[in-house]
């Protein structure tokens, strides 16, 4: 009897457990209010409002005659989720700025092939016809599973700039430095002559951004100083962060060059002489930004690498207005004609991972309709600048001219942006003109300082184009080599900068050791890929 009851209890428990787990598997429905439902995942910046608060997104649903279920994730969140999502094979119907072309080609079953359906998306076809390089960017072995994006053409500018406090220079009667020697003088003056005039010795002459643990270069890394020596970096994206560079069609790694040593020694000198903070190597971004922005009234920093003057405060604020972008000064012993600047311009305009579609999408026609709408002029503009007629207006006399409104700028300053901005899944044709896009205007203005340095190298032979990509096996190989390589090298380099100890002998040690970690193999792999794509 007792046993019977026991067995029954087990049966009931198991049954209940199964029911619960089945109930948990409920899928999102195919239709909502009779309209086909499309789920759209969008990776957003923390300063953007909810999709439900973006007016244009509602119009989009109307025009598409479908219902959109938005899934919104932040950059950080998504960085941790993406690979787990891929492994589970469970992605949203459409994914905006989520998955890269390599990821899609590695998981062909999960992603829909989009190149076979271009006839259903005439706007995308027009995009590729206008910008053939955009197509090249996402094509992997002749297939396209991810669509690229193109912002307003005013964004053809590197995201990396050398920014210097012009007000301080003027006050001290100094010129924008053209060589490292002049730069030394300026830094010394900034650090000792109280240029912000508050009577305190609180000036930071040069404020470098924290070094990363997994690579040598990334956005606004101090190794942008390599451009002073004639080595072209490309820190918006690509293999430049792991040291790869191209000169005359030959791929090499700048970790193995005396130029890097020269830059490390210069950075060491800055710490030693008190021009750069004693802890900058490990200072987290929040503190780094706080230093750049000072107390909101008095500038504290003389120079830094950044996007544009907004690194120091809102556009138009007292502090931000003090800074200008300047050409990078020439390193010791390097003639001006040899100096160059970061080759990330294309990467700022185009990005290669802006829209992908799940192969399991139920309402495929609605999804194609939606993609086509997103890539239309009307919605591309609205994705980047907010709702038409409110945040951005069309010039009544010129349909190809849009004017960004003050309302949008205010929303930007308040960190409540009603648009996707650079995350747009769309494209803006080169013949469209946009006025008042502060981001584009300012970055273009900053980039103008490098006009001459851009001419000091060949855009064909001295940089790794964005569309050069590695095979899966090669990508894993280089990733593994790099993990080991930078695990070893970055602490060594950081130590040299912070505590000194860079001598011929220790430099030779570094060179021997990085060879053991497969640095030459990485170079060969990239050379092979470069040759394949440049043929």
């Amino acid at each position: 009897m007792a046993q019977n009851i026991a067995l029954k209890s087990v049966a009931i428990l198991v049954a209940a457990g199964t029911l619960v787990s089945v109930a948990g598997c409920g899928n999102s429905s195919d239709t909502v209010n009779g309209l086909p439902n499309v789920t759209v995942l969008v990776e957003k910046n923390s300063n953007q409002v909810k999709m439900s608060q973006m007016k244009w997104a509602k119009d989009l649903e109307k025009d598409c005659k479908c219902h959109i279920t938005w899934q919104e994730v932040s950059d950080n969140q998504f960085g941790n989720q993406r690979n787990a999502m891929l492994a589970a094979g469970n992605i949203a119907d459409l994914n905006i700025r989520a998955f890269h072309p390599e990821e899609a080609s590695r998981n062909p079953e999960i992603f829909e092939r989009l190149d076979q359906h271009l006839d259903k998306m005439p706007n995308v076809k027009k995009f590729f016809d206008t910008y053939p390089q955009a197509r090249k960017l996402v094509e992997v072995d002749g297939t396209i599973r991810v669509l690229p994006s193109a912002r307003y053409s005013g964004f053809l500018a590197s995201g990396q700039h050398f920014l210097i406090n012009k007000t301080w220079l003027d006050k001290l009667g100094l010129q924008v430095p053209k060589t490292w020697d002049e730069l030394r003088n300026v830094m010394e003056a900034f650090a000792t002559k109280d240029p912000n005039g508050n009577g305190k010795n609180d000036e930071i002459a040069f404020n470098p951004r924290e070094l990363s643990t997994g690579s040598i270069g990334n956005w606004w890394a101090p190794f942008l100083l390599l451009n002073s020596t004639g080595i072209v970096t490309s820190y918006n994206a690509g293999p430049s962060g792991s040291g790869i560079y191209v000169k005359d069609g030959k791929v090499a790694n700048y970790l193995q060059t005396p130029e890097l040593r020269q830059v490390i020694e210069f950075l060491r000198e800055m710490v030693e002489k008190g021009w750069a903070p004693k802890d900058w190597v490990t200072v987290k971004d929040d503190k780094y930004n706080a230093r750049n922005q000072g107390d909101g009234k008095t500038a504290q920093v003389g120079m830094a690498f950044g996007w544009d003057e907004s690194a120091f405060g809102n556009y138009g604020s007292d502090i931000a207005n003090q800074y200008v972008a300047a050409a990078i000064p020439a390193a010791d012993g390097v003639p001006w004609e040899k100096t160059v600047w970061d080759a990330s311009r294309d990467m700022n305009l185009f990005e290669d991972y802006h829209l992908s579609m799940s192969s399991k999408t139920k309402n495929k026609d609605a999804a194609y309709r939606l993609i086509n709408l997103l890539y239309s002029e009307k919605y591309s503009i609205q994705q980047e600048y907010g709702t038409l007629g409110e945040d951005v207006k069309q010039d009544p006399e010129d349909s190809k001219h849009y004017i960004v409104q003050e309302k949008f700028h205010k929303a930007q300053d308040e960190q409540k942006v009603p648009a996707l901005e650079d995350r747009l899944a769309g494209w803006i044709a080169p013949d469209i003109k946009v006025t008042n896009d502060r981001g584009a205007d300012h970055v273009a203005k900053a980039d103008a300082a490098y006009k001459e340095q851009y001419t000091h190298y060949s855009m064909d032979k001295d940089m790794m184009p964005q569309y050069v990509r590695l095979s899966d096996a090669d990508a894993n190989k280089t990733a593994n080599n790099n993990t080991a390589l930078f695990n070893y090298a970055m602490p060594v380099i950081s130590k040299w900068i912070m505590n000194g100890g860079l001598t011929d002998a220790t430099w030779k040690d570094l060179q021997t050791n990085i060879k053991k970690y497969g640095i030459d193999e990485n170079t060969e792999i990239w050379q092979k890929a470069y040759d394949k794509y440049m043929k």
Binding site: E210, S212, T213, V281, N476, A479
Partner: protein, 319 residues
Amino acid sequence: METKEKAMPSTMSATQAKKSNRSGNAKHRNFGRYWQLWVMAIPAMLFILIFAYIPMYGVQLAFREFDPSRGLTGGEWVGMKYFKQFFESPLFWPLVKNTVTVSLGTLVLGFFAPIILALLINQIHSEKVKSFVETITYMPHFISTVVIVAMLNIFLDPKAGFIGRLLGGGNKLDNPDAIAPIYWLSEMWQHTGWNCIIYLAALSAVDVSLYEAAKIDGAGRLQLIRYVDLPTIMPTCVILLILNMGSVLNVGFEKVWLMQNTMNLGGAEVISTYTYKIGLMSFQFSYGTAIGLFNTVVNFAFLVCANYLSSKLSDTSVF
């Protein structure tokens, strides 16, 4: 002590022999008599089955080439390829060294500190003071790891932090050799109070007449601890030690991950953070699984060894 050690194994084996003689019938009767207990245990057993045993089928990923389209078990069989890759990696020895340093120190400190604290608290007579001390010492246990690391950053700041100013020199968090001690000590500070609760419970079981008898025999405080308290909590100590040995290579991932920076990476890269970088960040699930499996096997070996040694030496064991 010696006679006890020798005597006990013989009694143990006698009962074991009896048990196995009538095992068939006994099981039946046992289930019939205690079915309520079995029912109570079922959810826990199901939990372990579903979340600990069933996922083990995924371990084969370590021996296969992961192919997302074919699932966990569909990839091509590559045998020991990924283990070889890990053992031959230049990072292998540094990783093992860092992991062992960080976890062994935590294990040793984490073993002795709660015992000492429990013995000390047990000496407090006033109930009020006792519960006050207990509460204060176990509170830090509830602080989340992120906050702890932020606190470390603040306290160790050479300019503004009170520990940093005391120690002088550069930031200790930037020193790869200081990472392990910082980890041990902060871990001890955070968890000692919590971990001593179990010993306090064991100590409350001490027969008061034992104290009285010992006092009549002229025992002082230290002698009471030595001859009454310690023997009482010894079995608890040993069991906890064995269980902890099972995680000798398991360094809590979050804390080390958060403590890492460019300067201290040489001492702060441990197996779990490396697995995360390789497995999740660069999408090499097979390689990541192989490293994780290696970690588990080592832990398991330690657990079995500790258990074996302890059952030989002190007659206490988990299984």
